[in-house]
Amino acid sequence: MDAKDILGLPKTPLPLSPEKKSRPQKDSQRKPDGISREVYALTGGLAPLMPASGSRGSGGGGGGAEGPTVGAVVVLPYELVVVEVLTRLPAKSLMRFKCVSNLWRSTITQDPSFSKIHCARHSPSRAGGFFIIYPDADDSFCCFYATTLPSCSCPGDGESILVPHQFTPTASNSCSSSKCYGATDVIKGLFILYAGNRSWLCNVSMREIRELPFSSDLENAVAFIYCLGFASTGKEYKLVKLCLLPFYSTKDVISFHTKDVISFHDLIFVEEEKRKTSGLSGSRGSGSGGAKGPTVGAVVVLPYELVVVEVLTRLPAKSLMRFKCVSNLWRSTITQDPSFSKIHRARHSPSRAGGFFIIYPDADDSLRCFYATTLPSSSCPGDGESVLVPHQFTPTASNSCSSSSNNKYYGATDVVKGLFCLYAGNRSWLCNVSTREIRELPFSSDLENAVAFTYCLGFASTSKEYKLVKMCLLPFYRTKDVISFHGLIFEILTMGKDASWRRPWDIVEAPAVGLELGRTSVYIDGLLCCWHRGGYNLIVFNFQDESFQKIHPPPKSSGSIYLEDGSLLLQFGGHFALVRGLHRRLVNHELEIWVLELNKYEQGSYEWINHIIEVPCDFPVRGCSFVGSLPLPIGDQMLLTGLVEFINKKSAVPVYSFDHAKGKFEKLVIGNFPSWSPSSQVASICRKDIEKFRVYYYEEDITPLSDLVSNDKDLSLSSASCTKNNNKKKKKKKKKKKKKKKKSSRTTTLSD
């Protein structure tokens, strides 16, 4: 007699593949699989294998309510069977009875309330057993079960019966067969077997075993110890793993074998599946060095946090870029930790390290970038030329949207707080000057045919955002000789926020934005000054509130004929300024500079202040160009170069710097710019190129671009809603555009 007899189940043995056999029952009873079966059990219905299957006698269909009738087969309702009978069975029997039927198996193995009741019924005083872990000769463990141990009260009983059990993970649970070299204590019915980095969770009573995840970076670690515990408040089992990670090992000697010089790279505490991976105090945060103490003769190891905060943050960006190769942890700290780059920036504030960054137009119209650690300063002019190190910004395949490998850049923005943008038509790239990282920015697909692209980078200091402004002309219609344009397209991309370009103004609404493209604009501290169409007025764009201000030119100076064409926009001591009369020979070697003083407190009011500065004899008298402004600790320096000198360069390009502190010009020779395109000829560098020649002083800033460029999927997801709105707006605007197109399209003639 077995369980099936007692409970009135058919004697047909249950198959290993249960689906086949249970099918006939399904047919008759219509309740086998999954949920329906559970519902059935809960509602106290009849067992799935009720007499309906017919092989055993008749009647009894009424179930438990009928009660025990003599002679008739009495069938206990399934619920009673489960709650009252099965829960009282020892685990060993239950494991066997999983074979009774699918329903039984699912109740025994998957029903949490079942195991709870079972647990309650088998609380301490009741049944249980002894579980013995015994080391075998080959260093591995054997497990034994004993129902009783010979107790001291009846010592005569002699030995108890030890039943060995080999915990073997089934193929589906484990990668391969293995021996276990350690075991934790048995905590609330569970324990852990382990062998090095691998560990298995086992249930003592059910003898179930399952492999746990392992830490892939601990393959070389040794001396693994695991401890299992139960957090009673959270009702969670937690496994603690301790191990030692050797920091070096040679063929014969592994350093930790010599016991007096124990110096481990790390002592790692890993909480099962809850490894901390946060910031500076990451999973490897606690170094053993500190605890070990600086003993003479022993190796001193700085805790990682100290290494990062105190040492790495003091290194120049170039060294940091190399040291990304030291280890994965170092790389992630250097490239991904925002607090790291913040401390680094603070440590490299103005007075400290930095360098010069030079953008120089090559003969083929594209731009080259150069680095120089020092410029020959005016204080020691004898120094001669500085060393120029060329650098080609090349996006890696993963950063770039499109696959075009040949990257030439025809334009560059100013360097703003360590970043600048390179561009070529509709495509643009954000670059970090210090880390030389480059990432492609999104482009507007509807501007494929646009021309005369100009980009300007700015920093909104209140919201601490970098914003890139794009201006271009979209051709409206085109004949052989004449191209007419809709007008200026003006788009803004806020770094790290906008997933795509915003077009805040429709072409028509664009305020005074008849901007003159292709003429020098100057960026100072959140403001961009550019020329208005026609070249008579100036427009100041504010990157913070994205507003425009129209600036009328300074009054004509007495005696000079008003010709703005010769005016040069530049930065003079932190202000926008205009130099006039450069088309003419300078009178008395005097340069007339008008400085624009914007009133910070009263929006829209401004003032022009006239300065006359004396220029040295060899200062270029024609075609001056502003090449930059150096925020040196001594005081700003305005840099100018001359067109004649620029074009007729025989060796090095001279740059004239105006030292505000001293109030006079000095001549610098920046260096010899090699042309990268072999076919280039000196003569092909022409007037328009001079405007692209720029010299910047930059401060070290290792801000990773990944935070600013939302090429990544996760970023674009978060800003998806934002772009949706934008798209809606765009659609609306497009409709408007169509209506107003006829009225608004202005015609401009471009001579090729």
């Binding site: 970076d217 070389n220 990670l245 050797p246 920091f247 070096y248 110096s263 790279h265 060095g289 500190g290 103490g293 600086p294 003993t295 003479v296 190796v299 001193v300 190891v301 700085l302 100290l306 290494v307 105190e310 040492v311 790495l312 003091r314 290194l315 120049p316 170039k318 060294s319 870029m321 190399r322 040291f323 990304k324 190769c325 030291v326 280890s327 994965n328 942890l329 170092w330 790389r331 650098h391 890696t396 880390t435 030389r436």
Partner: protein, 161 residues
């Protein structure tokens, strides 16, 4: 070093990890924020203050630094700077590490700054393989991964192995 001198309030006794005792004037000890906090919170200055993480050699250096900085008036910044650079000159990496650990533990910001800066200046132009050894960092890159990271920043590796 003799602890037998009578304790007046102006002196403290510090004990290194290897058991040596240092008698220092209170205003010298106050360079350390840790000691300052201990004294503020009414730790008796008569007791020997153990510094279990700092060995005698390092502690002697630390106290030398503190004494110089406590005694010098703030106007002599230039003199202090030259003392600082002379102080760290020829110091090996192990000693610098010990100094950083000690300065970090005792919270002596100035010393921590100069020692850490010295380490940074020393490793700045070293190949990364050497840096691994200095900081006992295990190389967990596969050769391919390392080559990829190198390639990302090829410009920085010019002239380095």
């Amino acid at each position: 070093m003799a602890s037998s001198i009578e304790n007046n309030n102006e002196k403290l006794t510090l004990k290194s990890s290897d058991g040596e005792e240092f008698l220092v004037e209170k205003h010298v000890a106050l360079q350390s924020t840790l000691l300052q906090n201990m004294l503020d919170s009414d730790c008796s200055s008569a007791d020997v203050i153990p510094l279990p993480k700092i060995d005698a050699r390092t502690l002697a250096l630390v106290l030398g630094y503190c004494k110089k900085h406590a005694d010098a008036s703030s106007s002599k910044q230039g003199e202090l700077n030259s003392f600082d650079s002379e102080f760290l000159k020829d110091m090996d990496m192990g000693a610098l590490f010990n100094l950083v650990l000690a300065a970090n533990f005792m919270e002596i910001k100035g010393l921590l700054d100069i020692a850490a800066q010295k380490i940074a200046d020393t490793i700045k132009d070293k190949p990364h393989q050497e840096v691994r050894e200095i900081f006992h960092v295990e190389n967990d890159y596969t050769p391919e991964e390392e080559a990829a990271v190198r390639e990302e920043n090829r410009w920085a590796f010019e002239g380095f192995p």
